[in-house]
């Protein structure tokens, strides 16, 4: 059997753990740059605040009901997530946990007898709540997809199900599938859901009864076949190893205010290039291709909501690199080449790809050795990590930082910073 454990309104819950004064009150967490709502607690949902909506649209409700706002504090959420995952690993063993996202994990619970799964689930939920303050729900089924179906029901009927749904008999699986609309099946997007609905396929039960040949033809080939198999209870998706090395690394941010000056763009691009190089070194990779993009602001005057076309460019580096100054040089040169005077930009980013291990860099005949640069980078990383912050940085990344992202409602980093601990009286 596979299980999925999922944290309820995770970002909001993290904030509420340290703010007992907000218990039972509506709160929302905003995305980077405070632009969109990305998490709502049940109280906020009950007010009718929409998911993933732009913040300004919900502003009237938020002000009327005195909803507490938070900028996203990923430092805190990352730490709380790690705590939750650690508890799960204690229960089922490190090898049986697949961290699926910041607030979800699949568990392989094959080693536990069926009749013990309910007790195990109760213990897991109780321990996570007790140790971390985070409320979770759990769904268990014969396959990953069915565990997702179970988890959806656990959340939907949490008063009756007590946040635990286990599909341990054929009857329960059938009943659960019949209650699940196609759009809520894990892996079915809006487009496929619409397509299935027009064909009269309304529930997960209907999908389960489709033939594999039909799924192969109409539901995205082998992906569709796997889904049908999974819904029938035949495992087709297995536990995955954690992705330790990324194949592509990107750093991008929205600007706090629209940016019109080349100097500001250069600073921002240099900062993101620096962050990207740091991430490269952390996973011991070097990049052979660097690209950047700039996103102009949409024209608000025009009758149609228009996204300005994203401009981007790339360059093949003379030699794969993870050195900050080399990446900054390449990125800033590109920024200068695609920047247009008179345009307003709202976002920029740096992406690197073609990653190779940094100890096996192909030497280029015409380039000098890089060992000194690498030593310097290690020293810079060392200082920045141990001092917690960009203590040593390249001047190109700027000192004024007019473009910095907006985070007006940021809560303290309660679990990571000695100066920002939760206060008690």
């Amino acid at each position: 059997m596979k299980a999925i454990v999922d944290c309820n309104s995770f970002y909001c819950s993290c904030e509420q753990v340290f703010r007992p004064d907000l218990k039972g009150k509506p709160i929302v967490v905003l995305s980077n740059n405070d632009g969109c709502i990305i998490s709502r607690n049940p109280e906020a949902k009950r007010l009718g605040i929409g998911q993933a909506g732009p913040f300004f649209k919900e502003r009237p409700i938020i002000e009327e009901h005195n909803v507490t706002l938070f900028s996203s504090n990923y430092n805190l959420y990352g730490d709380m997530s790690r705590r939750v995952m650690e508890v799960l690993k204690l229960f089922v063993g490190e090898d049986n946990v697949e961290v699926y996202s910041v607030d979800e994990a699949f568990l392989d619970v094959d080693e536990f007898p069926l009749q013990q799964l309910h007790i195990l689930s109760e213990e897991i939920l109780h321990t996570i709540k007790q140790w971390t303050g985070i409320q979770t729900s759990i769904g268990i089924g014969p396959t990953k997809t069915l565990s997702k179906v179970a988890n959806r029901l656990a959340k939907k009927h949490h008063e009756i199900a007590n946040k635990i749904v286990i599909l341990d008999t054929q009857e329960k699986v059938i009943a659960a599938l019949q209650q699940t609309p196609v759009g809520d099946i894990w892996g079915i997007g809006r487009r496929y859901a619409d397509k299935l609905l027009t064909l009269g396929v309304e529930t997960a039960w209907d999908v389960r009864n489709l033939s594999e040949a039909w799924a192969r033809q109409h539901l995205g080939g082998v992906v569709g076949v796997r889904m049908v198999k999974e819904l029938r209870g035949e495992p087709a998706l297995f536990m995955q190893e954690a992705l330790t090395k990324k194949k592509m690394i990107a750093t991008s941010r929205m600007f706090g205010e629209a940016v019109t000056q080349l100097a500001d763009i250069k600073e921002a691009i240099a900062t993101y290039a620096g962050r990207t190089a740091e991430k490269l070194r952390r996973q011991k990779s070097a990049a052979s291709v660097a690209s950047i993009f700039l996103v102009p602001q949409e024209k608000i005057e025009s009758p149609h909501f228009q996204h300005g076309p994203t401009v981007s460019t790339y360059t093949i580096l003379p030699q794969p690199t993870s050195l900050t100054h080399e990446l900054i040089k390449a990125a800033v040169t590109m920024a200068v080449s695609i920047f247009q005077e008179g345009k307003k930009y709202k976002k920029a980013g740096v992406i690197v790809s073609g990653l190779v291990p940094d100890n096996a860099i192909q030497a280029n005949l015409f380039e000098e050795g890089k060992s000194i640069g690498r030593f310097l980078m290690d020293m810079v990383d060392n200082i920045n990590f141990s001092m917690r912050g960009d203590v040593v940085k390249f001047a190109a990344s700027g000192v004024t930082r007019n473009w910095k992202m907006r985070q007006q409602q940021l809560s303290p980093r309660y679990t990571m910073r000695w100066e920002e601990l939760c206060e008690v009286k």
């Binding site: 007992p20 705590r83 321990t127 140790w131 060392n382 141990s386 601990l421 939760c422 008690v424 009286k425």
Partner: protein, 143 residues
């Protein structure tokens, strides 16, 4: 350059040490007798944190527990996995406020007691919004 791993930012605490990480004298002459007794160094994480995922640090902003040696400005280590029992110092969330007090329970009646004469004990109203947030295990006081 050979640096001891505990000075590096990637250092994860001594529990991840294997015996090959234990420093030796690295003497070039006669093998140091002390190598036979080599162990890992004292690590405060190991001494003070019993259950990492359940442990939080908090800063005290009152003199309510001064009699217990907890001063204004001290940092306390709080373990949420410990069951609060009579006499334990706890962090309690009472009507939206985080308080540090002694915890007492008699015949299902809960009380929070300060360690100073300047504050009064608090009887917990069964209808109050009350929860023991965690149990204080250590206090870090700068002298």
């Amino acid at each position: 350059m050979d640096t001891n791993p505990y000075f590096l930012p990637s250092y994860k605490g001594s529990k991840d040490f294997s015996q090959t990480d234990v420093p030796n004298a690295n003497a070039t002459g006669f093998c140091a007798a002390s190598d036979d007794f080599a162990e890992r160094g004292i690590d405060l994480n190991e001494q003070l944190i019993r259950n990492k995922p359940a442990t939080f640090f908090m800063r005290v902003h009152s003199n309510a527990m001064i009699g217990a040696g907890i001063h204004d400005g001290d940092v306390v280590i709080v373990d949420r996995s410990i069951k609060p029992t009579n006499g334990k110092v706890v962090i309690a969330a009472l009507n939206g406020e985080m308080l540090i007090r002694y915890y007492e329970i008699h015949n299902k009646k809960e009380r929070l007691l300060p360690a100073t004469r300047k504050l009064a004990p608090i009887e917990i109203d069964p209808f109050a919004q009350f929860e023991v947030w965690g149990v204080v295990t250590y206090v870090i006081h700068s002298v």
